[in-house]
Symmetry: C2
Subunit: 123 residues, 2 copies
């Protein structure tokens, strides 16, 4: 029951499915590419959300449910809200198992974000 | 006249000057680490700012002034405002030469952001 929809950063862009986007320093980003990529960066641009993302990413087995995350200092509904935002941004996938929804980092999206930040060796 | 202040992501943290922060998946981030790192991600979390950052990063010689950037569809004062925000976040450095302020990408901060996103090979 994991979400089958491709995360935004990897959505085909009418260019034969090439993942968005080239490294930031390769050429100026188009408005469309920037919209897509900014959504990812924005999702990690909140300290609480970043801690929750780190909590999921570093949890045993690379996944966690709200029940596993209790030490970030926010209420469980707030945790759920932020995890949902991270999922909407394509950074987490989720799967319901019994009572709980388990979240897992989407490695391909993280890799795509990392590629954006690569500078040419000569710079 | 470039700004000598260390960018936030590389500021010593009372741990012998180790650059902030470990990869997101290594262990849960502390509140302090998340504050620092979220500031960087937030700076790139706006489509216009991201395009301007890409315009600077991909410009000849790895630097650009406001006078070089005209095709992002926002006014020159808006360009200046966003470049200043990127500088405050530690992502750009600046140097005044004659009439213009030239902006340049801070490679070490980009590298530190990239390291944050690295997942363990086993994940």
């Amino acid at each position: 029951m994991s979400n089958a929809k491709l995360p935004p950063l990897l959505e085909p862009e009418g260019q034969g499915g090439a993942p968005c986007c080239p490294p930031l320093a390769e050429r100026p980003m188009t408005a469309e590419e920037a919209e897509t990529a900014a959504r990812m960066f924005k999702a990690l641009g909140d300290p609480v959300r970043l801690r929750l993302f780190s909590a999921v990413a570093s949890h045993e087995g690379g996944e966690a449910c709200v029940c596993d995350i209790s030490d970030v200092g926010v209420s469980q509904p707030t945790v759920s809200h932020h995890l949902k935002k991270l999922k909407e941004a394509g950074l987490l996938t989720s799967e319901r198992r019994g009572t709980w929804v388990y979240y897992r980092v989407e490695p391909s999206v993280l890799a795509a974000m990392g590629r954006l930040l690569v500078l040419p060796a000569a710079a």
